[in-house]
Subunit: 341 residues, 2 copies
DNA sequence: CCGGCGTGTGTGACCGTGAACATGCCGAAA
DNA sequence: TTTCGGCATGTTCACGGTCACACACGCCGG
């Protein structure tokens, strides 16, 4: 097998190599790896020494094969280039790593069923042990059900009555806080710019808006269906300003709020004197917009961490609260104030 | 776990199950899977039918074990919650998926050596076949070398003379474009806000700035070391304005530019009348800042795609240009103009 | 004094797949 | 006709771990 003198075609060392050098059986090495209780300390040390010497690294594929456990958590995400999802992903990864799990992401390019199915199949092929769905559209959940993917699933951003286990910043409460803030300032003519209609998250914020408006007996106008982008906010703002029958706008994310502010200024008006604007998310830039944006803060990182806790509690059973919620926080800055008239 | 009467915990079908039902040997099934040329069409079809019927899915772990190929590409990234890195990651994932590869990410929480080593070890444990380093600090490259990770590596954002193979938007050219734009407008007192000092990317932009300044014979002030955040831009802006010996600022990303604009307005001054500001990246929000930000666009998505092509061309050898560069583009908006005096 | 039990360790099978090698068949070349 | 080579397929083994079981030993209680 080995030509003398030639540099050995180095196969990575296996437990059997370690075993041979340590003068034990491969099973003993395996026991050391898995922290089996009954091993003599000196035997264990000898094995550990050899491992270090050979720079032995367990082969994940072999382990996965025999245990049928991949220790991979899949993340299905849409618009993962945005601040919120991206922060959550980073937090999930960190938390998962700390627990000895790996993350594999699949991002959705479009919302059509084929794209969703493709991404899910990709994840399923890895035998993921858990799935985190970020920015879940209704369709994603449906497709999941169809493909009968039978791993624990956690979704971020839910409405609170989903079929799958969910964890979320309480979007409805956050939206109500934002709306109440505007009403308390004296606004009565308020528009709401929503996210894309099939986003659960967008729907929850809209529901919070409508709930608060009706509870406070403020007449409601129909929400305007947006797409999360600043561009959309800008164009919607221009459109609305041709009529100008409002004093405040609640945009369901900070980007759209930014676009609206742009449109308001283009029209020669002032924020917040002529129009108050409130956003949602509190992206790091929001504090530096002009004027600094009043918004609702979500702790995306905490969301990611809890998400992993929930999932692992399910994978390696151990009771954890199932439908837990993280409180959002109203951040009042300069973009909202009392209406001028 | 299994409640009596419940459906039996079924083991996933293997090629042997498929083989049995199709009346062939498992090896024939394997050949169908791997598109081996010499299989009778009717045999192949029979096998495919059985696969569909059983919903057979190849076991990646088993395949990885026997081929010693994981088909996983690792991504090591810092600040993956920011627009640029996040966009690149998404693009890399999409491109990799299209080529039948999986992505596993590890994000750096801090820049200390331990954190880097930990993330790399995590990726290495998966036997990744390629590594993409996003937002590479010098330290990352050093640690990589120390750990003797012997997979193809591609870094985004390089200075052009790295030891590892790199692919990048030409940061230096982009920075020169930005600087030249300011000079052409008539500015002579220009400050530069850099990114963190150990970021290759930040260094490249700084070098571009300095090169252009000296080539145009404009006296240079020392660059100010920043940290990419809008908060920093704001504080640096306030600080600089106490002296006010400049007419323009080149911030090496859009967030810092935003912070500076905030500080300028806080001081009762106008952008661009009193101070011109230019950023870098062209994040989607930049067009809606007030005023809309002049900046240098980087095509992060294209970067991600090319990155995968480069890596796979290395993994599955096939000649591809090695050190390729993507041209940045100057986007002139409202935040820059001629100095007032 | 003997059987049973706990501790520490070894032996062999097995997970699902692919590679190497073997086999049977058929047609073309010698 | 015989030989040879290629096609289509089967058989066996290896990959690197874990698991079930066996075994040797010492200790304890009946």
């Amino acid at each position: 097998m080995t030509v003398p003198g030639e540099t050995q075609r180095t196969r990575a060392p296996s437990i059997r190599d370690v075993a041979r050098l340590a003068g034990v059986s491969h099973q003993t090495v395996s026991r050391v790896l898995n922290h089996h209780p009954s091993i003599r300390p000196e035997t264990k040390q000898r094995v550990l020494d050899v491992m270090a010497e050979l720079q032995y690294k367990p082969n994940r594929a072999a382990r996965a094969l025999v245990t049928s456990r991949s220790r991979i958590i899949g993340i299905l995400s849409a618009s993962s280039e945005q601040y919120g999802p991206a922060s959550s992903i980073a937090a999930i990864e960190t938390a998962a790593r700390a627990s000895g799990y790996w993350i594999s992401t699949a991002s959705l390019e479009s919302t059509d069923a084929a794209s969703i199915a493709d991404a899910l199949a990709h994840l399923a092929a890895q035998r993921i042990e858990g799935l985190v769905v970020i920015a879940p559209q209704v369709r994603v959940l449906e497709t999941l059900a169809e493909m009968s993917i039978d791993v624990p699933i956690v979704t971020l951003q839910s409405t609170g009555d989903d079929p799958v286990r969910a964890l979320s910043v309480d979007q409805i409460a956050g939206a109500r806080m934002a709306t109440r803030h505007l009403i308390e300032q004296g606004h009565r003519a308020i528009y709401h710019l929503t996210g894309p209609q099939d986003w659960i998250e967008a729907e929850a914020r809209m529901r919070g808006f409508l709930d608060e408006m009706s509870e406070q007996d403020v007449p409601t106008t129909a929400p305007i269906l947006g797409d999360w982008t600043a561009d959309f906010g800008y164009h919607a703002g221009r459109e609305l300003l041709t009529v100008r029958d409002f004093t405040a706008i609640f945009a369901s994310n900070d980007q759209m709020a930014l676009g609206v502010m742009h449109a308001v200024r283009d029209a020669g008006l002032d924020v917040p004197r002529d129009v108050s604007i409130i956003g949602f998310d509190d992206i790091p830039e929001a504090a530096h917009f002009w004027p600094p944006l009043t918004t609702v803060r979500q702790d995306f990182a905490e969301l990611g961490r809890r998400c992993v806790a929930l999932l692992l509690g399910d994978i390696d059973p151990a009771a954890i609260e199932h439908h837990s919620t993280i409180a959002p926080e109203l951040i009042v800055r300069g973009s909202t104030g009392r209406p001028a008239f």
